[in-house]
């Protein structure tokens, strides 16, 4: 099948998830992503390289499960940018690249002599996308972040909680995933602009800023009405925030740590639900204003009822009504038992040079003409030095060997 982004070449310094996740998308659609790592630190700037999870019996630099997941189908080369020869090689690579991408702390690439002005001098229409926590401009540009810090500062941690509790936040780096999505959007927006105008540009992406946009209606409620979200009690984020709905929550089911999410959108949903609950207490909640006004009480009754049921059996019964209901699925349930993910082709098996066969996160989309493909795992350190330097930059295998011995690669 034809590849949508074939012919686009990315000179890629990204790592972790917030950066690597962006270029993973591009590689899956056929862009040639050349990942550059530091041989002196063995690429350990990316803490996922060599980090858990590992396949049973494997451990070490080439076996990081997260690193593999985020770097499928990329080429990997090493360049020791402390040396002039490596800088020359990088310069030649930039000349034939469409975009340079990185998610270092602000100013790192500049210090190596490859800030935007230098990139532009090497290739006038280059697209340069930097992704760092607070961006390259503004009072906090020197401050550092990880996903959880981005979520904290932006309002996303605060707005994920139960009342009378401290913030629950996100049990994973939602903003490393999502920061990567915005970075991929920025790269493609800039490439589209270049396709139509011939002009390159530097996109200064601040992951925290992208995160703040994700609470839009709450921000307008503040700026327009001066209604703050911080109040006497913490937000109850399992409740419906916008359309008035009750019951609307996550309720316990039979078994240990088993839960089901139920949303009752309107009177019809409630009548269906009350009919299968078949208990006297439902009568006192028959009007929607009573359900909304006494949600705590309603949730107590609901929990007593759901606790008597298996979550998947209850899901089946409620979906048959139909009202919105879904079991809170554990990883094994989503991946192994729920046929919809496998049927969608969501967990492709790729071949990694050291790890062997591994399943990874696929893409949640399908294109009728130019669909994504995943074949190879993340590159081992310097795995494609010879391939990239000989086929793209015209060096001989002997020259590549000599550069490796000199400590350039």
């Amino acid at each position: 099948m034809q590849q949508a982004l074939a012919g686009i070449r990315i000179c890629d310094f990204t790592g972790q998830l917030a950066g690597a996740g962006a270029t993973k998308w591009l590689a899956a659609f056929g862009a040639e992503v050349i990942r550059i790592e530091d041989p002196v630190r063995e690429g350990r700037w990316d803490i996922l390289r060599g980090g858990e999870p590992f396949k049973p019996g494997q451990r070490g630099l080439e076996y990081g499960g997260g690193f593999n997941n985020h770097n499928t189908d990329k080429l990997g080369i090493t360049l020791n940018l402390r040396t002039d020869k490596a800088k020359q090689i990088l310069t030649e690579l930039i000349k034939i690249s469409d975009a340079v991408t990185e998610n270092f702390a602000a100013g790192v690439l500049d210090k190596w002599g490859f800030g935007y002005e230098q990139l532009k001098a090497i290739k006038p229409d280059i697209v340069y996308v930097s992704n760092c926590g607070f961006g390259h401009v503004g009072p906090y540009h020197q401050y550092k972040t990880w996903g959880p810090i981005v979520q904290a500062v932006s309002g996303l941690t605060f707005s994920s909680s139960l009342p009378d509790q401290e913030p629950a936040g996100w049990g994973y780096s939602y903003m490393d995933h999502t920061g990567g999505y915005y970075m991929a959007m920025a790269i493609m927006l800039a490439l589209l602009h270049r396709q139509r105008s011939g002009e390159g540009q530097w996109v200064d992406l601040a992951c925290t800023e992208a995160a703040v946009t994700l609470n839009g209606p709450a921000l307008l409620d503040w700026s327009v009405n001066q209604n703050p979200m911080r109040g006497e009690t913490a937000p109850h984020s399992n409740r419906s925030q916008y359309a008035p709905m009750a019951p609307h929550g996550i309720y316990p089911c039979a078994g240990e740590d088993e839960w089901i999410a139920i949303s009752c959108r309107d009177q019809q949903d409630w009548q269906h639900l009350a009919a299968i609950i078949a208990a006297d207490w439902t009568a006192t909640f028959d009007a929607q204003q009573h359900r909304l006004a006494r949600q705590d009480k309603l949730d107590t009754y609901m929990s007593r009822w759901t606790l008597e049921h298996n979550k998947f059996e209850l899901q089946e019964r409620l979906q048959a009504l139909p009202i919105p209901a879904a079991a809170v699925q554990k990883p094994a349930e989503r991946i192994e038992q729920d046929p919809t993910t496998g049927n969608f082709g969501l967990w492709p098996t790729i071949q990694h040079s050291a790890m062997g066969e591994v399943q990874v996160d696929g893409m949640p989309v399908h294109f009728s003409e130019t669909d994504w493909q995943m074949h190879h795992g993340a590159p081992c350190l310097g795995e494609h030095n010879e391939h990239v330097l000989t086929t793209l930059l015209g060096l001989s295998a002997q020259e590549v060997q000599a550069l490796a011995e000199e400590g350039v690669l």
Partner: protein
């Protein structure tokens, strides 16, 4: 020139996909929102201007429909179907989140539209994908999230409390992020030489999008069948990890991130402790001093077995806790960051909005509402493209505000 200037998008109104249309419209695409005669439901969602419900007062609708025009069409009527087809013949992109069989039933699915516009990029976003019957079940953001995975990983150390679904339509947002990524990919492909007529149909699954937006919850299972367990304010993990959330002197919380692990970080922390005159309250301060004077990097693999290294790292955590109890969340954030530690104050959304950093970056954007004769402040750009900037080009449209205008353009 905006990055998407000249790209015409037809969006069939649906609260699930509205955000994808906004992402495109604010980058300069000409987005035409097609609404049924009664208008989209989300026009009636709170919050409301001055807390008063009423026509065009939904701030929810304002936010998700910036820079769009509204056209009313009843797609059940033949005449309006013809108008829709005319519109499609001038469009680059169709965004929809309709029931899986609806457009085919109306003779308006991709197979019907492609002959009218071979370059059309038709994106259908559904709960499970276009070929899955479960996509036609009713869902809300909450139930999509539960099915797709995030709540399993979010909540508290105390598992008698329910898992938590993060606030604010993040399930919808995640699907819409993939819609936008897909459109950009298909547009780039179509823009390459000789591809002008190469449109396509794109099937986006919202639950699949959530399944691959859960970090190690998914790939931990795929790699070694480990199951993460939720923890308060930090990553869910197969085995319990140390707390990272602390309450400060002003009652607000901070996330302490990765504790100090380099000599210069211990040195700065000790300096700050002295500045606050707290050193005497920390019996472990002597280990901070040792950490500050340590030669070379710490061998982290010895944590837990080497007494000195373990004591130094434990002192780092204790020092952070002590400082947190003594200063406000904001001072803790600024002080730690100035010491080189990646720490965050847990801001509410409005506190983030008013933060001097984002204000300095121009995040607060004025949008004029001619209908209320007032200018309101909106959240700004998620990214800065200086050559092709993000911009809110107009307030959200009134119902059918542009029907005549758009039909006249077609004539």
């Amino acid at each position: 020139m905006s990055a998407l200037q000249g790209i015409r998008v037809v969006e069939l109104a649906n609260e699930r996909i509205a955000f994808a249309g906004k992402l495109m419209a604010d980058m300069g695409a000409e987005v035409i929102l097609i609404e049924p005669p009664g208008g989209d439901n989300s026009r009636n969602y709170p919050p409301f201007l001055d807390n008063q419900p009423g026509a065009n007062r939904s701030l929810y609708f304002w936010h998700y429909n910036t820079s769009k025009r509204s056209v009313v069409l009843d797609l059940n009527l033949e005449q309006d179907q013809d108008t829709f087809k005319q519109l499609i013949s001038t469009a680059d992109v169709l965004l929809e989140s309709e029931p899986t069989q609806r457009l085919a039933g109306l003779g308006l699915d991709y197979a019907d539209l492609k002959p009218l516009q071979p370059g059309l990029i038709h994106v259908a976003m559904t709960p499970y994908g276009r070929d899955e019957p479960k996509s036609d079940l009713p869902f809300t953001d909450l139930t999509l999230m539960a099915a797709g995975g995030p709540p399993w990983s979010c909540g508290y150390d105390d598992h008698s409390l329910p898992p938590v679904r993060g606030w604010g339509n993040q399930g919808y947002h995640t699907g819409c992020h993939y819609v936008f990524l897909s459109v950009l990919t298909a547009l780039l492909h179509r823009g390459m030489q000789g591809n002008g007529d190469k449109g396509q149909f794109i099937d986006v699954s919202m639950t699949a999008a959530l399944n691959v937006t859960t970090e190690a919850a998914s790939y931990g299972w795929l790699v070694n069948n480990s199951t993460v367990q939720r923890q308060t304010g930090r990553h869910a993990a197969p085995k319990p990890t140390g707390e990272t959330q602390m309450q400060c002197a002003d009652g607000r919380y901070v996330n302490t991130g990765v504790p100090p692990r380099f000599p210069h970080e211990f040195a700065k922390l000790l300096g700050w402790l002295r500045e606050l005159q707290l050193e005497e309250q920390l019996p472990e301060a002597v280990f901070l001093e040792m950490g500050a004077q340590w030669q070379g990097p710490f061998d982290l693999s010895l944590l837990g077995s080497d007494d000195t290294i373990t004591a130094i790292f434990s002192a780092g955590r204790e020092a952070l806790k002590l400082i947190a109890r003594s200063v406000s969340a904001r001072d803790f954030f600024i002080g730690c960051q100035n010491a080189g530690l990646a720490v965050g104050a847990i801001n509410s959304p409005e506190e983030a909005f008013e933060d001097p950093h984002f204000i300095a970056r121009g995040f607060q954007v004025p949008v004029h509402h001619d209908d209320f004769d007032a200018t309101y402040t909106y959240p700004g750009a998620p990214y800065k493209l200086p050559a092709s900037p993000w911009q809110i080009s107009r307030r959200a449209p009134h119902l059918g505000e542009h029907t005549d205008e758009v039909l006249a353009e077609l004539a």
